[in-house]
Symmetry: D3
Subunit: 236 residues, 6 copies
């Protein structure tokens, strides 16, 4: 199974989907993260408080953290460096994302929700993901490489889900790999205060997973919302 | 796997979920249909056009058709006879449904959507299903029988889905058992004009299933909408 | 054309649809109002401030006002006297509404919206209208009288539309009959302060009608929201 | 300021609004909780696991816990004993709630959300609250006691908010009284596992409060969703 | 009556609105289709499977098909050639669409829905239509040509309507001209498998039209969703 | 308290929020309006009917009106001159808005709603406001000026609110300063017909404010919809 993540900033994939990625990596699946930006302007306040900081130094630090986190999760990672706050993706950028999709041939794409009023970069990443998926399916785009199928798009849980229209329809049990998610979160020096926040959130989603019929052993879960219907051979 | 269907009228389970039921019956699962009414007043216009028809005779005819359809699908069936147009369920009726749930111990419940402006009996059946599920989970209700877990509730596709707020999130491949669904539909003498309608609908949902990543061999599908999040161990 | 109005309280039809009713009455259409209650408890504060008032005297006064208003509009009126605050409709009451529908054979039904948090009687009236419409369509209900077809249901504009989910999709030009609506509103002694309020609202909806392509001569309009799709032979 | 809480079961007010109640009690406001049921059937699984338990003994135990919790919060409490799973409120019950509203003359009402698919008792409590509020405003209902004004209705956060359509629009800082909420939660022996769950949730809502402009000292918050618009003299 | 269609790709107008266009053409109305792209990259997989295909040859083939289809429907057609997958419309392109609107002076505009996750070109076409309509109404844009009025915008049915938020509010009887739609569909060589799909869909919408009060003779219908309220002189 | 208004066209702030601005100016708060365009093309039809009009002359006239209105309200005003119909904001424009936010340090931002199908400039202004707010919060954007906090964003009432998804959650009493709003509205020569329209609307919102618990003295109100939850120390 191939999993491709389109992450607006270089931290998002850790907090919002680190467990999912570790889980599939542990299964031997091909998991790849594409960071559209480093979150260098908007998501690195701790770094900017340090003396002599520059945009390049912040990006370098953020890149190092993300690479360490990806390693902790056991997944591959790449960086587009499109800039953040605002994240802007022109057609050249779009076609690079299409190229990633054509190369990875994902069964599942992960990205952000639309309508996050706190963070429009999330909307931009989601829009680029849907548009790149569509272009990657087009026979007439770069006919030399084969088109992709119709991968599901799973949207991450945003920071304040209810006001972003996020309604979880998939609670993923990440208990078996939570140690890896924790290790990955601890790599994210610039945003250390978030580790306990996302650990608590995982516990909360875990309780809900149990309440919705999951096994009692579930202690940590991540929530996702599908864009497309699932196709299945049974109701269960 | 145990599947329990709460059908407002004695025809609904055939048109809207016959393929799903045949599929699980064919797997050896325990599938049981509970018809809350026979649809005797509102869904039997053909019978009422016959001479000398009475409410009892319509019910008898409808019961015979539903039993034949259930047999064709390979599933068990029971009748509550609560009356239709309107379908009214008092607490005694509710507790009978709770009893069915406690007995069947379903992994999945199937029923109607809410907010069908054409047919409020569908709302009544859905409301009763959710309420009965909740009561069946209560330790203090009939403590002599064990409580149930947290089965998913899958909602049928209504006749005019968009104006009922129906948004399919599960497209079920029923191609392998479509002959059984067809046989079951043909048992429903009172509503014969619907066979081709629902065959076409199944083909349409089948095309959509393929477009959403299903195998090209899918020719017939049924659409459902989940009430609760799914809990899973992988993203796929 | 036959128009049947199901009004929760005896004033609603005047404020919310008086222009529509006068318009159709003036065309020679058959227009009939059914008031489910007099609004005697909850919508007659002025009467209750008078000395020696009793429930029966309030009902009598409200009935007189509504009859005068109906006369001013040129429409027929009847009263169900189900009580208000809360309005409760049992099956006997429901079947009386069904009887009205079978007798009137409406092309259009008018009633309230759902989800009015200020006034649950409106929800009750709307629910009864949809349910009675469904029963009136049932071949097996009172087989001695003919079933009805599939009349559109138009929902009135509620007092605070946005928080009730009301989204107008029909702006009706009532300019030619606004004098009749005004005369009818002036019959409603118990709620006199509302005349200027609803005149202003009509002007506002009139401006919107012009903005949406209506003729510049429109000065007064009423807004409605359809429950069902329209069926037409042209796009216009 | 008068605060009146309509709680479906005798535990809800503690978990979902205990901080809000303690806060207003501490200000010297008049805070009163009305429990529509004890949650005796559906929300007391721990008690039912004890030997020799009966409905009456469960109710007694639950009542004791709720009274202790109310005392810890510093608020008044009453019990309607309408039964739970399902919670059913007839007109006599409704008028008792109306009587509570007429007596308390609340500036704010607190209750549950609608559309909780896990727990229809919450819907019943919310519907009764809106309907009782409307009746309590009616001049013709029990004319011997004065009508109430137009109190805001604040809806509690449900257990799985996103699938209930809950969108928080008020984050209340309960940091100054969190010790009282904790004490109250610890009174709820039957549901002890929820204390850490709701403590974590409060911390999460606290972080969100700070992110939405609240003071950095906020550590615990509760989320609510308003039914009606607020009326104010300034934008802030 | 003037009808102007803004079609994202050169096939959309045939499948989604061919009947509507033939109907108005048959009435002698002025019907004009503007194709924003040929669908050359994304909607011509059959052509791309042919040897020696190039973007220009695909566009030429698609243009020929669309012209033939327009001729079969009896309507005028023009091409903007903005490119597809992605469809991008800059201000120069926007002003060309404005020019079409100023020239055509439409009573009705037809275009796509927003929020189609499968095809963002549809969103782009819809956005351009709304924006061009607004600019065409502006006195200060190209003051040498007269502004337009306030034409209704009708949105086509998308391929998977429920997940695009499509809710049909107009079911158009196209039975009298279905032979023309069929002829037009048969011109679309590149997408031949869709003919039976859209014939079935038309039959399904036809059944729904009859169920919503349309004449029993309706066999084929097309569904649309209005953007703006309708303005009318009667309720019917 | 600092209030910053991002107005798509130079008239919007007067009609939609003039009372709010006058109210805060009268309290001694710092209120500043930023007009993204003059509405020179699309919202000045009266001016364009005059002989010899040019874009520059319309802009000059509109600027004069807006300055006079701002003076009547007692607030500061600035102009971005980005052009209207369509309003387009590139990154340079965005950063100018960010600069305004960093300079003003607003407690509250006011702007338009999303999803106004009549006027996409409103969407553009709202999107720019949310995005600029996010950039203004970013430590890495222009590190020489301090970041802002998390101001609430209040959305204006659009012209046809229900079809724009506008649901008012704040009714602001502007009675004490309505004379100033009236004076400001009268400065807007180009759109004189709107004065009575918005006076009526203010009266209507005033009646609703009273109905929702506001003081009976309220005669004029403005409606707003919040983007973010409020954070508070009490429920009231």
């Amino acid at each position: 199974m191939n999993v491709l993540v389109i992450s607006a900033h270089s931290g998002d994939f850790v907090w919002r989907a680190g467990g999912a990625l570790a889980l599939h990596a542990a299964r031997g699946d091909d998991v790849r993260v594409v960071c559209l930006s480093y979150g260098e302007r908007g998501e690195s306040p701790g770094l900017w408080r340090q003396d002599g900081m520059s945009l390049e130094r912040v990006k370098e630090a953020r890149r190092g953290e993300a690479e360490a986190a990806a390693k902790a999760l056991g997944v591959a990672i790449g960086f587009m460096d499109f800039g953040d706050y605002p994240l802007r993706i022109d057609d050249e950028g779009l076609f690079r994302i299409v190229g990633e999709m054509r190369a990875a041939r994902p069964d599942v794409l992960l990205t952000h929700v639309a309508n996050d009023p706190w963070n429009r970069d999330h909307d931009a990443a989601r829009e680029a993901t849907l548009l790149a998926r569509q272009v990657a399916q087009a026979a007439g785009h770069d006919p030399a490489t084969p088109v992709i199928g119709a991968p599901q798009v799973l949207q991450f849980e945003p920071h304040q889900p209810e006001r972003c229209g996020f309604s979880p329809d998939l609670l993923l049990d990440i208990t078996p790999v939570f140690d890896r998610k924790q290790a990955a979160m601890e790599c994210m020096g610039a945003q250390a205060h978030l580790v306990s926040y996302y650990t608590d959130l995982g516990a909360r989603r875990g309780v809900q997973a149990v309440r919705n019929g999951g096994h009692r052993s579930i202690e940590q879960a991540e929530a996702f919302q599908r864009v497309f219907p699932t196709v299945a051979g049974t109701l269960g």
